[in-house]
Amino acid sequence: MYGNDFAEPDDPGAGPLNAADGGAVEAAAAHVDTKAQQGLETFDAIIAADQRIEPRDAMPEEYRQTLIRQIAQHAHSEIIGMQPEGNWITRAPSLRRKAILIAKVQDEAGHGLYLYSAAETLGIDREELLDRLHTGKQKYSSIFNYPTLTWADCGAIGWLVDGAAIMNQVPLCRCSYGPYARAMIRTCKEESFHQRQGFELLWELMRGTPEQQAMAQDATNRWWWPALAMFGPRDTGEHAVTGGHTEQSMAWGIKRFSNDDLRQKFVDMTVPQAQRLGVKIPDPDLKWNAERGHYDFGEIDWDEFWRVIKGDGACNSARIERRVTSHQQGAWVREAAAAYAAKQRQRAGAGAQAGAADGEGSAA
C-alpha cells in the first residue's frame, strides 16, 4: 500500500542518511580488503549500467541497511494497513462490499509478506523485523494512524491512499534491488483493484442520498491532506528538508523520483477524478497553472505530519497494541504447527530406522 522512505531528522535509529556524514565509510574502509573492493567496483558498475543487484552480490553496507529499513517500513505499513479497513469488515453495507473488503485486506497482508520475503534476502530475520515493529524501532506509514470514522473512509482510502501508494510503488518496480523490484511488480498488479473499488464505493455514495454525498465529501476532506503527506517531506527547491534520503537513494537507483515530483503527479492525476466524482478537494489554493502545466496546491501541515510520525496521531498506540496482541494470540497456532511438524519428522525418522532394521530400505 505504501513505499516511501523517510525518517525523523532527529531519529537516532535511522542512522546517517549519507554514509559520508557518519564516518561509517572511513571506518569500513580500513577493513576493506582487495576482494571486497573488487566486489564494490562490480556493484558500482551494475548500478551505473542500470542493472539489478541480486541478494548474494557484494553491496555497500549502507545500501543494504537503507534497503532493509525501507523494505521493512514498507512491509510494516502493509500489515498495519489492514487495520483501518479491517475495522469495517463486519459493518460493510452489503455482501458484495464485504467480500471485496475482505479480499482487499487479505491483499494487504499478502503485500506485507512479499516485502518481508524481499527484506529477508538481505540477511535479516523475519522475527527480528516484527520485533522492531512491535517495539517501535521501525516505523510504518503515518497515514494508518488516522481513524476510519465512516464507511466512506473505506472508499477514500482506496481512492486516495492506494492511489498515492501506486504513484510511489510504480517507480519502485524499477528499483535497483531485484527482490524489492519484483515484489513491487506483484504488488502493483493488485493495487489497481484497490484503487478502483475505492473510487467505485465513493461513486455510488455520490449518486445516493444527500447524507451519503456528505459522507463521501467528509471522508475526502479528512484523507486528502494525509494522502499528500504520504509522499514524505519536501525534497526539492528552497523548502527542501535537509538530511533526507532522496539524494543517496536516487544515486543508488532505489528511488527514481523526488517526493515532490511524485506528489505533483498525484495531484495532477487526482483532481480530474475528484471533479468527475463530484467531491471538492479541501484546498483553497488548488488551481491549474497553465504556465507550469500542473496544478498548484497549498502547503501541507508539516507540524502535524511530524507529530503523527513521532507517535501523537489519533491511532498510533491502538495500531501497535492491536498488532502485538494479534501476534501474541496467534502464537499457539504457530507453536501447534511447529509441534506437529516436529512429530512428523520424528515419526519419519523412527520409521526409516525400523525399515532399515527390517532390511527394507528406501527401495521399497
Binding site: Y114, A118, E120, R186, E335, Q344
Partner: protein
C-alpha cells in the same frame, strides 16, 4: 516451546501448462505441506498458477557470485558454439 522463525521455503509457480516453474518468492512454514498451502494463499490468489513447488531454502545449492568470472569463463572463448560463427554462402536456404 521457544518461538523462533519457522523454516524458510522458496516458492516456484507454473503459470500455466507448457511453462516451467518460476521462482516467485518465499514463505515461512513449519513443514513442506504447510509451505505449499501458504504459497497457494500468498502467490496464487488470482489464479496465477496451476502448480506449485516449494524447496527448503537451506537445501538450495547455488553458484557463488564471487567466482562468477572464473565459473562462467570457460564458455567465453567457445564462440563456435553459436550458429553465426560459421561462414556459409548467402544463397543457401534453410541453413
Amino acid at each position: 516451546m521457544s518461538e523462533g522463525t519457522l523454516p524458510l521455503f522458496e516458492v516456484f509457480v507454473r503459470a500455466k501448462r507448457g511453462l516451467s516453474h518460476v521462482h516467485v518468492g518465499s514463505v515461512h512454514a513449519p513443514d513442506a505441506t504447510m509451505a505449499v498451502r501458504n504459497a497457494r494463499d500468498l502467490y496464487t490468489r488470482r489464479q496465477e498458477g496451476v502448480s506449485i513447488w516449494v524447496v527448503a531454502a537451506s537445501d538450495i545449492v547455488a553458484s557463488s557470485p564471487d567466482e562468477k568470472d572464473s565459473f562462467f569463463d570457460p564458455a567465453g572463448d567457445k564462440i563456435y558454439r553459436h550458429p553465426t560463427f560459421y561462414d556459409v554462402p548467402e544463397d543457401v536456404e534453410y541453413l
